[in-house]
Amino acid sequence: MNGLRRALRAGFSPFEAGLDRLVGPAWNPLNHLGALGFFFYWIVAVSGIYLYIFFDTGTTSAYLSVEYMTNKQWYAAGVMRSLHRYASDALVLFMVIHMAREFSLDRYRGARWFTWVTGVPIIWLVFAAGITGYWMVWDKLAHYVALITTQWFDWLPIFSESIARNFINPDFIDNRFFTLLVFMHIILPLILLAVLWVHLQRVSRPRINPPRGLAIGVFAMFLALSFIQPAVSQGPADLAKVPGTLKLDWFYLAFYPLFDIWSSGTLWGLAGVLTILIIALPFMPPMKRLAVAKVDLENCNGCTRCLDDCPFAAITMAPRSDGRHYAREAVVDPSLCVSCGICAGACPTATPFRDRSKELVSGIELPNLPIAGLRERVEALSAKLGGEARVIVFGCDQGTRADSVAGDGVATISLPCIGMLPPAFIDYILSRRLAEGVVLSGCGEGECYFRFGIEWTEARLAGERNPRLRKRVPRERIARVWAGRGGNRTLSRALATFRAGLPPFADNAPSTEEGPPEAPRVYEKAKSDA
């Protein structure tokens, strides 16, 4: 499984890096696959409602009504039909890429199993909804789709009569069949929407809207394509003839030619095995779970920052159980916690400046990577650092390997996620002159393994989110390099440039309240410099 994941990752990496360079991480479609999927769904829904107004149910009127929309009302219903078609196609494409990319990033196991597994019915529902849509047009392609689909279902031992028989002779089909089809084509997307809601239940702050610029661009693209190549029918269905040469929509119907090669039973088997395999993936093998975050009530004041920052809704606030005067306390759900440590990074008590005469324990932290241990490690590494332009690099286990740049004057510490680093540590390092500079590195921008590590870190450094980095901290001594996995060379180059520009500490230099302009960010994603 690791080999397959690595192969997929190697396939995605150049595309991600190329798109980042071309459009920037904020508009990179690969960083918004789920949100774009939702956007396509809404385009399909709105255009579908408009088409429904003009659609007639009947063996001849269905086709004629679609022809009316396509030809007579090409400027409105015709465009809507094309938008309906292309957004549906894009939905399938993005759904498949979304699934493959999450798999390649190992974002489907552990606490994420639920989101992965609930994605499986979404695949079935998207195909079912789309295929019933093709059926409704009642052209030659619809006839083909009807025949193949019903022949497939006929294999199941639950129908006393053949359903496919309805589509082999004009005498056998009934107008009411189209009423059933319309019902199916409406109810399936509604069920899909409900399952999408379930799909996101264990994801806090799910991004279901793409950035505006990207959304406008994609919609304009659909619109342009609708005029350049409008969706059209392929001639009325003729049940007295076997469908011959067809213009298949390969996004939805790529599996259909297999029915001419293999039996229905084989294809049910294949579909069943594939479905079970996808469902079982998170458990083959299950992810090794690190110890989950632990709340220390002595230090928890119920401030809710960990609740706000947790990317997987693993933290809830409960009434105080220890009798202290705070109203609430944080509670971690072990089944949802992914041990990213972002909660520790958010905790106001996770500061290395705290009284050294007492044990340093923060309100919430990872048992195997406590804040006290982090402070000890920083101090120990600093003590060993020599030379000029000493730098401590904080990396993340999921992104660029920080230890790849360890060397003379450079110490590295890898955290589960860069979001685990409380900003107070940067202040601590620079104010205590433990190093001349601090570098933060991790996943590629827009593809944080734990979703919000980079975003929260950037916001904390910019003073936009608690815990804020104090204004006195000289920003030119901090660099952020979001190069992603395999971005060792990018990190190395950025580090060299950063160190070259690092001034030594001036003796007795006063700390500035506002601080000078910040060092530039590097978000060049790794190409193949792993």
Binding site: L19, R21, L22, V23, G24, W27, P29, R85, Y86, D89, A90, L93, Y144, Q151, D154, P157, S160, E161, S162, A164, R165, I168, N169, D171, G213, L214, G217, V218, A220, M221, A224, L225, I228, Q229, A231, L239, A240, K241, V242, P243, G244, T245, L246, K247, L248, D249, W250, F251, Y256, P257, D260
Partner: protein, 167 residues
Amino acid sequence: MLKLRQALGLAAVLAVFAALLGYFTYRPSYVHFTDDQALIKISFTLGGKRLGKCIRRTRAQLQKLPPHMRKVLICPRERHPVHVEVLVDNQPRYQATVNAAGLSKDGSSKFYHGLVVAPGKHLIVARLVDSGRKTGFDFEIEKAFELTARQHLIIDFQRDRGGFIFR
């Protein structure tokens, strides 16, 4: 300037995406059935005759039963399998015996099978046994057809309309 460059980059990416969508939504064409073929489809559902004879209950027997169970005719549920043979131009092309559906074998036997032939004139013979007989057939039909390219000829069966029906 950066925004403009990114917008142009996005336009380029979306142009490729549009080309991909536009192409695979209709192309390449797929040939499901060629013009040098026609299809004979055997398609019907038929319940075979019951395995045993129905028994008529006597009045005395009925009196012993609760009122809601006083059914005069008691028939065995199980049905004979249905055997079908189709010959095209005197060549046997299809032969199948299908058991009655259901756990008690009291349902219908379902037939749905296609025979690909060349367009043109063909002599088609269809035979059926639904009574379990060992020799001969309960129903038989023989008819010549001139099939056109991709024509769908259905061999249907309806007992109440005399047996086989070609559509």
